[in-house]
Amino acid sequence: MRILFRKICFYLLTAWAAISLNFVIPRIMPGNPADNLINQFHGKLSPSAVKALRVLFGESDKNLWQQYVSYWHSVFTGDFGTSYAYYPSQVSDVLGQSMFWTLTLITVCTVLGFVIGTALGMLAGWKRGTWLDSLVPATTFLSSIPYFWFAIMVVYVFAITLKWFPLSGGYAVTETIGLNGGFIGSAINYAVLPALTIVVASVGGWLIGMRNMMVTTLSEDYVRLAEAKGLPKRRVMYAYAARNAMLPSFSGFAMSLGFVIGGSIVTEVVFNYPGIGSVLFKAAQAADYPLMSAIFLLITVLVLIANLIADIAYVFLDPRTRES
């Protein structure tokens, strides 16, 4: 339990650091982005929006500490001000609508990618020296491809040329959003290509990591002993080799997850998927700083939660960490 407590403390600290970073960055950036942005709107911004923008960049009559306190206040109330890219929508509303899409897509894809990659990696490590070795360069190539480019190719082949799947979007506009069969079916249909892209591009990383750990684990004494015990091969592979080889995949989850999320964001843009990635793209185009900040915070918090889950899973998988 102590280890979990320490982990939670660490993630709280990290969250604090990220949120504070988000406060600091606009204030230390050179130039005067607030004026630029206000000029872009040619006076169409409401006075309150202009004021909020100046506050974001630290142009305020309050001192830095007061600004920091009110910043935290807005973080906890979810009040990130007005979006400029989706003017006059509130940032929280824009995110509320898009978050669900991204969360579902990335969760499903991460789990799929992890399971498939780890399973293939286990086999490739177990059968080291056979044809399965050729999986390594193949998946290396796949994971070296930029996600968004792979997405473009997938769209070109499956949506434009073969017309198997819809070109872009998250669901057919003819359906009404809600828990009805038609909408869910359509959402799945629209999600196939983005999901395919993310899974295929992320499998390689898991595969190679798992394979190398598997090969390393196979020369451990306990695997040799398991063989000497005359256990069935499957038992040796799963219970002795793979279970131990998997552990680093969990402790390295953070880095891989960040990578997958980064890739997914850009993938959404290609598919014009109604998730956070597409919103971020629009926000970046329109220099919508409030929206970008909020997205950064949101993604960071989600990643931290995912990492905490991975850490908890690790504690369950490896009894050695449970030691006090």
């Binding site: 988000n22 080291r128 020296g129 056979t130 190539f141 930029p146 000497a228 131990n244 700083y289 009894p319």
Partner: protein, 706 residues
């Protein structure tokens, strides 16, 4: 320098003193690097990377057009005049690609340089300084590691609108240094504790000199891996940022090309040539860099190098011999009659090893680790096998149990086992199913380190139980649980410890648990490979007594392998001494102690004190164990032997029968015992009655015995 890091990784790879493992460390650093290059995939990676680098350098001079120049040939497919086609505005894509190569490379390399410098600074400082500074820096690195880098990069890049390559480089470096820093910190920590660094510190060398001379050179491989990884990552990130329009979109890079292709809906107009080359270039370069990194990985972690582990042959435990076709018959299970206590003249042979040969195969050369080894094990007998490290004793243990993995290979010999019904079977000829039945049912093995041999994430009870599940499928859960408790009780472990994990047990208890695993199915033979070496003397004593007690009670035979000769003499019935992969002497333990016949045995006996008897000077054996790849001609012990004579260089001695004055029989592989040997030097001198011949052993002089 690279050599040391290989040695470092090598030492982590653990127990087995395989000559093949040593092979890598004894080569010069340059050759080790060459070996990395020799792997075809790695070489391909290096070549592709070089080609891209070259194109990036000369790109602007060889590009046929100005990349931004608009022409009439709008959206033209690849043709002779525009090899890669044109954009919507008639710009030449090949020219854009060549200019883009430079921008992408600059960002990739620039970011990698800055990131690596940051990683090294933070990682090495944290690892070397330790204490509070380390805590703070590690925490910082860990925080940056879990922050999702792309969103952070996007935020930073967005606040630096239309920044050029420099801005992007800085942004990528700020978000990307943490991983390298963490790895380097861990490496520095372990290097700092190593002898050569401790020595440098003790001599008062300046900190920065130690870091530059002793620490950094040993991290070259890791730093190189981090550097190449960052190049790939930075090129990908730059492309993503450019694709999102967050960089200066008028500066040509591969990402910018894709940005314009996307913005102009090149997909919908079917202009595949617009977006294929840029993505392909990124992917190919990324793959090439990863391939180089795999080469480095395999270099850092030698276990990855062992080829062919999963092949059919390896699964058959590396036996060269063809399986003998035999009618499979599972006769009725015959219970073996209870064995009478072992007597020296017993002929009840249970295991007969004949002419066994095990080679380590690498790059076409074969190193014999065990050759022409023959011995018999009788029921209830304790056969002790002694030898220095590298003498082949552990290799022999693995061969008996058929546990060898590449590069080891059993190239010759027979291991004949006598079944309960009196029939015999060659262990090396067994197929997978037979082998699985044989293992543990008839023969079990206890490894040197229970810490490594027990699965760290499985409860001890479960590790005993799974043997029973595999071999006694008909036992009920309750019966199995009862058996587990019984086995733990036999070795003196409280029943409630069945639910413990190996790390929760003390060293002695772990080793006893290991023995309980070995006893699970009442095997006929237990091979014990240095079962007590890792334990302190008191615990060692307890374990040995337990083993001997169990042997008398349960009546199994033991092959006991150790370098501890005094222990061996005490507990064995018969002793075999190995040297250079061969058995050089075998005799009843008593005869061996009183009259060692091989000069090497005498050297061994002279290098440790006896508990009783008169005081005598301890001597050792001069020189070091032979290099199995370059065995001397004739007798392998010749260069260290004080009694060597001319014939020893010409002839490999076979085992000669030597009969002692009181009827004991030894067999020694020494030409001194051959017909017509120079009798004057024969070690079986007149003073054979009172222990090792002190006059001859003094000649052996003192030396380090490993």
């Amino acid at each position: 320098m690279a050599l040391q890091s290989a040695a470092l990784a090598e030492s982590e790879s653990g127990a087995a003193a395989d000559p093949a493992g040593e092979a890598t460390t004894s080569q010069g650093p340059a050759r080790v690097w060459l070996r990395v290059l020799r792997a075809p995939l790695t070489l391909t990676g290096v070549l592709i990377t070089l080609v891209f680098l070259f194109l990036a350098v000369i790109g602007p001079w060889i590009s046929p057009y100005d990349p931004s120049a608009v022409s009439d040939a709008a959206s033209a497919a690849p043709s002779a005049s525009h090899l890669l086609g044109t954009t919507q505005n008639g710009q030449d894509i090949l020219s854009q690609m060549l200019y883009g190569a430079r921008a992408s490379m600059v960002v990739g390399l620039g970011a990698a340089v800055v990131t690596t410098v940051l990683s090294v600074l933070v990682g090495v400082t944290a690892g070397y300084v330790g204490g509070l500074g380390d805590e703070a820096l590690s925490l910082l690195a860990n925080v940056f590691l879990v922050l999702p880098s792309l969103p952070l990069t996007i935020i930073l890049a967005a606040y630096l609108p239309h920044s050029g390559s420099l801005g992007i480089i800085l942004v990528i470096s700020v978000t990307g240094w943490a991983w390298g820093a963490r790895v380097l910190r861990a490496q520095t920590l372990s290097l700092r504790k190593r002898d050569f660094v401790e020595a440098a510190r003790a001599t008062g060398e300046k900190t920065w000199r130690i870091i530059l001379k002793d620490i950094l050179p040993n991290q070259v491989a890791v730093i190189a891996a981090a550097f190449l990884g960052t190049v790939t990552g930075a090129i990908l990130t730059q492309a993503s940022l450019a694709f999102l329009g967050l960089t200066d979109v008028t500066q040509w890079s591969w990402g910018t090309i894709l940005y314009w292709a996307q913005v102009s809906s090149a997909l919908l107009t079917g202009a595949w040539w617009w977006f294929v080359p840029a993505g392909l270039a990124i992917a190919v370069l990324g793959t090439a860099l990863s391939l180089v990194n795999f080469g480095i990985d395999e270099f850092i972690n030698p276990r990855l190098r062992q080829a062919g582990i999963g092949t059919k042959k390896a699964q058959r435990a590396q036996v060269v011999k063809r399986r003998t076709k035999r009618v499979k018959q599972r006769g009725p299970v015959v219970a073996r009659p209870a064995g009478a206590p072992f007597t020296p003249d017993s002929t009840d042979v249970i295991l007969d090893v004949r002419d066994l040969k095990v080679d380590y195969v690498s790059d076409g050369s074969r190193t014999p680790a065990v050759s022409d080894v023959s011995f018999t094990l009788r029921r209830g007998e304790v056969l002790g096998i002694a030898g220095e490290s590298g003498s082949g004793k552990s290799t022999l243990a693995y061969a008996i149990t058929r546990l060898h993995k590449p590069p080891a290979e059993i190239s010759q010999g027979e291991i004949v086992y006598t079944k309960a019904d009196g029939g015999t079977v060659d262990v090396l000829g067994m197929d997978e199913d037979e082998l699985r039945d044989f293992r543990w049912e008839e023969l079990s093995i206890v490894f040197q380190s229970a810490m490594h041999a027990l699965n760290p994430i499985m409860r001890v009870g479960e590790q005993i139980e799974d043997v029973i599940i595999a071999h006694r499928p008909r036992m009920t859960r309750q019966e199995r649980a009862a058996r587990v408790v019984e086995l733990l009780g036999i070795v003196g472990i409280p029943a409630d410890r069945a639910g413990s994990y190996p790390h929760e047990l003390s060293g002695g208890m772990r080793q006893r648990a290991m023995i309980a695993v070995g006893l699970a199915l009442d095997p006929e033979i237990i091979v014990m490979d240095e079962p007590t070496t890792a334990l302190d003397v008191v615990i060692q004593r307890q374990i040995i007594e337990k083993i001997m007690e169990l042997k008398d009670r349960l009546g199994f035979s033991v092959v006991f392998i150790t370098h501890d000769l005094s222990l061996l003499i005490e507990l064995s019935d018969t002793i075999a001494v190995m040297y250079g992969g061969k058995i050089v002497e075998t005799a009843a333990a008593d005869d061996f102690y009183r009259r060692p016949q091989h000069p090497y045995s005498r050297g061994l006996l002279a290098s440790f004190p006896t508990l009783g008897g008169p005081k005598r000077e301890l001597t050792g054996i001069v020189g070091s164990p032979p290099d199995l790849r370059r065995l001397p001609s004739g007798c392998a012990f010749r260069p260290r032997c004080p009694l060597a004579f001319d014939a020893c260089a010409a002839e490999i001695p076979r085992l000669y029968q030597v009969t002692g004055p009181d009827g004991g029989t030894s067999r020694a592989a020494c030409l001194l015992h051959a017909e017509g040997a120079p009798k004057s030097a024969a070690p079986n001198g007149p003073d054979a009655t009172d222990g090792p011949d002190t006059t001859t052993t003094n000649e052996l002089a003192t030396g380090e015995m490993r």
